[in-house]
Amino acid sequence: MNAFTESSGRVTLWRTLLRSPSVMIGAAILLCVLFIGLAAPFLHTMSPDKINPSVRNKLPGYESTLRDDEGNKIQFVHLMGTDSLGRDIYSRVVFGARVSLLIGATVAVMSAFIGLILGLLAGYFRWLDAIVMRVMDGLMAIPAILLALSMVALLNAGLSTVILAIVITEIPRVVRLVRSVVLSVREEPYVEAAISVGTPTPVLLVRHILPNTIAPLIVQTTYIAAHAILVEAVLSFLGVGISPETPTWGNIMAEGRAMFVMLPHNIFFPGLFLAVTVLAVNLFGDGLRDLLDPRMRKRL
């Protein structure tokens, strides 16, 4: 029995969550990154877009002097150095957290939502199954990067295009997962019992079948979020994602690519944030999976 089967056990579920180290560590790191992203306007030392040619390619810890609008001199410390245009990497990394988290969360929620509906329908209505699943097989054959490249070429490069591209490639995985759960749950006697007491099909799906998909879906969603953050970074790194003036971790790294050997900090700091964030999401997901349903390993 997994923890979700007992709603009287919701309190217990929280306690179990608190006891799992990987969930706790993952959640703690994620909260930090979320805080950094939300508080970016207060945390940053200067505008992430501010170009200052006089301080190009400086190492971390370099101090520069600027004049503000009134002409007062202000001292700046570039905690993570500057890039080839003289922008402050620390401020850009802090703002980059917003994009990464936004993309991770949006992609996860959107693909989970669409995938859940398609999976429920495909799993329950046998005639729909073949159609939906063949489309999903087709989608799975398209590499995420390639799809994003062509979509950016067709539409405009921007946040929404990137999100759409990643969502499309993630949907089939959710559909497969949800469908497999639905296929097994629909054979349960309690579902048949509900049919025989005249429960209408939509109610049946929502009340008796959908709750069984939630636990595996939550776990899958975390993996999708981690993957989406990575794909966005890759797209930005390749220069086909979000426009280069927007600070994202991938963009910052792309900026530092040419000078990587001499000035590794350009790539190191955003890379570190990216790695830690993805690790945290995965830790969180793994922990949840172990707690919610140890048998689920087979399905993922």
């Binding site: 089967t5 309690y190 048949e192």
Partner: protein, 573 residues
């Protein structure tokens, strides 16, 4: 796949079996001395097994009987050293040929398994490794424990396969488990267990998962081989029919404690402990109960030429089935697994679509109706399923499960809840329990709740699809009683699906015997039990375990000539 071996029925020596008397000079193969096995902290009791002492002598079969959770499997697994980690033997000794298994080095234990003691399991479907052929699996035992050459080993394996009565040994050798039927797999398991002629065979419910005719063959096989080889057998079962069939001595376990241990004749005929009396009393009698007036009700359900063929299958699961069900009567559908009895139930309940034929409900043919057209009619037929653990949604309170149906048909929550409370009283549960979740109930209680859920719809026809098969015999008796009472009170028609002839005898007014999708015989229960006409029905009766014993009034006795019903007339002429 059907078992092609001819039906071998156990030989019945009338009267007392020749039991090797419990002479002290014979060293027992297995001796349990005050064995304690503790359960992990937080379980419902401290010990899985407490202070159990018993012996198994060479050449005798000791049946370990008890209900689920009585610790019988814990004993079996501990003797083999296969117990779950959470179960720790804390005191006592398990002497195998005088050697204590509990203090033995793991290497020695490995040496003894298969050579001195072997085990066969309940589920032949999962006890064999699907990626090796049966020959290889038996051969592995010989490879591990003997220095025989490959050809000698093959000869032994072939011998053994022949001994367990499997046809075409060479083909069996090469076949993989999935190519065999359940009975054949259990024979392979037995071959594997006995190939090194162990002194002790532990059989953990080896026939529970099998059909009754296959069960009879396997019991006969174990009996024969055990006699030939002089093996001591510890036979674990919950079924007193099987006990009557096979045991020399009987040990009765309750909640980990041995309450009675003695010769079969003694325990069955003069049970001393009240628990044993209760268990034996709960075994349904094979003598059909006769109830008048049931044939006078109006026909409320009738099927004509009902056919259901599942997709991707060429043979129909249900073929040309015609049934008639009257108000106030219980019609039993009896048959073995795969006979199509559950499919009939699911067709009648419109849980699956029929391939052809008609189902008349109050004169209206419901077979061609769509799901939507069916909705207003669903109230009429309700179904109680076999597995009480899966037939209630674990996420919803039992109250919510019960009121779901009435609320689908427009009842307000208050009305439905009030009715549910009354139904809880009807099925002898506290109305306050409506707020609880299914996992807080036992199997028997859950089945009561399922009955309450069905009754909430105020149905006219109640289908019980193996509704008591998953329950312990004492709980089974209570649920059967409840079903009967409810049928009486509400004047329901009941379609009772079961594989168990004893249960059918107690509940059904009429029975229809199904085999391979067809009804081979139908008639009043008393008539069919007295004189089964069809060959298949006769085979079924002849295979029923313990048919030579009468279970009545808390004790059993060996049937004599002239005892009621079919004792002699049944045996195939």
């Amino acid at each position: 796949m059907t078992d092609p071996t001819a039906l071998q029925l156990p030989t019945h020596t009338a009267g007392i079996q020749q039991v090797p008397s419990n002479v002290t000079s014979v060293q027992p193969v297995l001796e349990l001395q005050a064995l304690d096995i503790s359960l992990p902290r937080g379980s419902d009791r401290a010990h899985a097994v407490a202070q159990v002492s018993l012996t198994v002598n060479p050449g005798e079969i000791v049946c370990l009987v008890g209900e689920s959770g009585s610790g019988k499997s814990a004993i079996a697994h501990t003797v083999m050293g296969l117990q779950a980690k959470a179960l720790v033997p804390t005191a006592g000794k398990i002497l195998l040929q005088g050697e204590d298994v509990l203090t033995m080095a793991p290497a020695r234990l490995r040496q003894l398994r298969c050579t001195t003691m072997s085990m066969i399991f309940q589920e032949p479907m999962t006890a064999l490794n699907p990626v090796f052929s049966c020959g290889e699996q038996i051969d592995e035992v010989l490879r591990t424990h003997t220095a025989l050459t490959a050809s000698e080993r093959q000869q032994r394996v072939l011998d053994m396969i022949q001994q367990v009565g499997l046809p075409d040994p060479l083909r069996m050798l090469r076949s993989y488990p999935h190519q065999l039927s359940g009975g054949q797999r259990q024979r392979i398991m037995i071959a594997m267990a006995l190939v090194l002629e162990p002194l002790l065979l532990i059989a953990d419910e080896p026939t529970t998962a099998l059909d009754v005719t296959t069960q009879a063959q396997i019991l006969a096989l174990i009996r024969t081989l055990q006699r030939e080889h002089g093996t001591g057998v510890l036979f674990i079962t919950h079924d007193f029919g099987v006990v009557a069939e096979i045991a020399d001595r009987v040990a009765v376990l309750r909640q980990g404690e041995l309450v009675e241990f003695g010769q079969k004749q003694q325990v069955l005929e003069y049970p001393e402990h009240p628990y044993t009396q209760m268990l034996i009393g709960a075994v349904p009698s094979m003598t059909p109960r006769v109830r008048e007036a049931s044939a006078r009700g109006e026909v409320i359900l009738r099927t004509e030429r009902l056919v259901k063929t599942y997709p991707n299958s060429r043979t129909p699961a249900v073929n040309q089935v015609a049934l008639e069900l009257r108000r106030g009567e219980t019609l039993g559908i009896v048959g073995e697994s795969g006979s199509g009895k559950s499919t009939v139930a699911r067709c009648v309940a419109k849980l699956i679509t029929t391939t052809s034929g008609s189902i008349f409900q109050h004169g209206q043919d419901i077979a061609p109706l769509s799901n939507r057209q069916m909705r207003p009619l669903r109230k009429c037929v309700q179904i109680v399923f076999q597995d009480p653990y899966r037939s209630l949604n674990p996420r919803r309170t039992v109250g919510d499960s019960i009121i779901e149906g009435p609320m689908n048909y427009g009842a307000t929550r208050q009305e439905a809840w009030k009715h549910a409370s009354e139904l809880m009283e009807l099925v002898r549960l506290e109305p306050t329990m409506l707020q609880r979740f299914p996992h807080e109930f036992s199997g028997g209680q859950r089945q009561r709740i399922c009955i309450a859920r069905s009754l909430a719809m105020k149905p006219e026809i109640l289908i019980a699809d193996e509704a008591v098969s998953a329950l312990d015999v004492s709980v089974q008796a209570q649920v059967l009683g409840l079903l009967d009472e409810v049928r009486e009170q509400l004047n329901l028609a009941m379609l009772f699906i079961t594989h168990d002839l004893r249960v059918a005898a107690q509940v059904c007014d009429r029975v229809a015997v199904m085999s391979k999708g067809e009804i081979v015989e139908t008639g009043r229960t008393a008539d069919i039990f007295l004189a089964p006409a069809h060959a298949y029905t006769q085979t079924l009766f002849a295979a029923a375990p313990g048919r030579d014993w009468l279970f009545e009034a808390g004790r059993a006795r060996l049937k004599k000539k002239g005892d009621s019903y079919q004792a002699e007339s049944v045996s195939p002429k």
